[in-house]
Amino acid sequence: MIDTVHLSVNGIPIAVPHGAMVSTAVALAGVTRFRRSVTGEPRAPLCGMGTCFECRVSINGREHCRSCQVPCENGMEVETDA
């Protein structure tokens, strides 16, 4: 379908509506821990608008991308700090 984007989160295939952010794909993959804090706590999005940096993930091998600011694209490979 033209309105659906296919990508993977930690190797799991995920389909999201066109325009969805990577943070949405991560949540739909059932991942609640987007990253581990410096003392090892699980963390996930707080601000939703690119300022808090809690939603950082790796996208296509590039680390520390703010998942709430990057729209999903076909074939993207997203890795959380699982």
């Binding site: 509506p17 325009g19 943070s23 949540a27 003392t39 707080l46 940096f53 600011q69």
Partner: protein, 415 residues
Amino acid sequence: MPDYDVVVIGAGPAGLAAAVRAAESGVRTAMVDDNPHPGGQIWRAAAGKAPAEAARWIQSAEKHQVEWIAGARVFAAPAANRIAVEKFDGEMELGYRSLILATGARERFLPFPGWTLPNVMGAGGLQALAKSGLPVAGKKIVIAGSGPLLLAVAKYMKEHGADVRLIAEQAKTSALLAFGLRLAAHPGKLTQAVGLRAALLGISYLTSCWPVEAGGANQLESVTLRRGGKTWTERCDYLACGFGLVPNAELAALLGCRMAASGVAVDEQQQTSIQGVYSAGEATGIGGLELALVEGEIAGFAAAGEPARARALFAARDRYRRFAAALERAFAPREELKALPREETMICRCEDVTLARVRHCAGWREAKLHTRCGMGPCQGRVCGGAVEFLFGWKAESVRPPVFPARIESLTRTGP
């Protein structure tokens, strides 16, 4: 020769209004925003579709050939009249004759035990994520904190099938009633407020109520609330919690603009203390949509050399500023919230600095040097508002890069 006569930073209401008014005055205008779509946080597009009022401004910007530079964040000002921006796929520099800073606001987060758990989010934060596709239907949501945003978020969540358990507003009923009386002078606002409340039928709106702890093992499972002498626990999937807004003033500070108590200091033409640098909207003080629009229009006209057209809007701006002042008084965070964090509660989420480690510091500088509080990727954007409220610490200085940038961006851009 600069690339543009006017560069507008931020594509929310203030930025859009500024860009449209500058461009229609006949000057070459560019508008830069960190987000993929124009509209800012308040007009954030849901499923790729912007609200009608936003669409009118966006169409007007297109018609007047405002150049739209999306997904780009400003991280440095490498030379006079030049800014450096980073995009997902590289960096660029922009030259300008006039600059308009319409950088908006972010939510104020106040720390309490458990606030770092996954699924504890800002109120605007949850709304932003929902608009970008996060499903909320059937989810149990507690909305807490302070300000009119809580009502707007509750309405949005309810319309999208969420089970909104309650709204916990920290302000006192008496403060809100006083505010309500002032609303009578603003019929548009009153209708908006009443309309929101009506749509909320069925959701309890508790004043003088706030969260004291979020609970859960690896993610949020429940929130404990307090109201007067009563404390109880609500099970929920999301806690959407924000205590009002704080201006995004970092870029203005980097450029050396003078700050006022409320935000970036501006004169009657919205010009900052630096010639040719203007600021409009929430960056100059929290004031809401209408004030942001009119300030943006004034800044756009002024930056394009049309001061008389700017002047014609001063009366409207004065009216909205009075409303903003009443709003700030009504929803000011109360003293009791300072007692929420425990010794082991994180204050700085980037560097995991607890209250116990920062509470004895003399100020921001000592806290940064000794504990790394505020030194992580968000650069104090989250904990800064918290330590200002908890300890009265104000940010002292801003150094480039104002946002974390890639090494290649920094090396290709001069100091």
